[in-house]
Symmetry: C2
């Protein structure tokens, strides 16, 4: 599974952050910008305490609330997703629009690929409707083995 982020993708992610913040009237502070950069640079899901270590090197506070608050902000802007099954965070692949994504996470390499599948979303929305259930914006996590790791077995 691809684990690199191109320079273009990183720029696009930061540009999306600028737009998201100006749209919502929030500020993309140096801390928030830096955390987003770290997540973008990782190119795959990364843990909160790993990010925290990097922040220390940059002179920011390395206490847990620092990173959790910042990630919460980035999530609220739709720039970062939390992957509950592995307690990690990953940059959103389509930060330009509110979406309901589908993310495939490899158990072996930890890599992740995010898709937006209209058909799946529509079907799930239909189920939710029958249940009278209101979905919130989120990503669905699908665990398994990616092509590269499967081939390596």
């Amino acid at each position: 599974m691809r684990q690199k982020t191109t320079a273009a993708e990183r720029r696009a992610g930061l540009a999306a952050a600028e737009r998201a913040c100006s749209r919502s009237g929030k500020k993309l502070t140096p801390l928030r910008r830096r955390v987003l950069e770290l997540v973008l640079n990782a190119g795959k899901p990364v843990g909160a305490y790993n990010l925290l270590k990097s922040l220390r090197a940059d002179g920011f506070s390395d206490a847990p609330p620092t990173i959790y608050r910042t990630l919460e902000f980035l999530q609220a802007q739709g720039l970062v997703h939390r992957i509950a099954k592995s307690n990690t965070f990953v940059a959103c692949s389509r930060p330009h629009d509110d979406h309901f994504g589908l993310i495939f996470v490899c158990r072996q390499c930890g890599g992740a690929v995010e898709l937006e599948e209209q058909q799946v979303i529509a079907d799930i929305g239909c189920c939710a409707g029958r249940l009278g259930f209101q979905m919130s914006r989120q990503v669905l996590e699908v665990e398994g083995t990616c092509r590269d790791c499967g081939a390596a077995l």
Copy 2:
């Protein structure tokens, strides 16, 4: 969202456990049986440490490995699902067959409803196929607000 389990459902869950164990050659010990009962009785997702408290009252060890090992066993038998987004465990609604389920979890009341939607599963399988991704059996978690909680707002 419905949060009760009927006596019939509890009996069915335990009967399924007997079958699953005899099929796999594993033993449904008193501890395992009791934990499954507790999860069935809860009728909604329940945390590991809550279960642990109940075990203490029954004279079992209340150290964390007790409950995590037992839940792992029950998951392997397909009797219990883990809900990563809330770090909880819930009885499987269809313990009779290996399946790939879709579970709707209410943020307000913590209740959950599990569906098996062939169309959704097929669509996701199709995406996975295009990615060369091998899915493992699991449940997809959809977060939101259930009918009752939504009506109460």
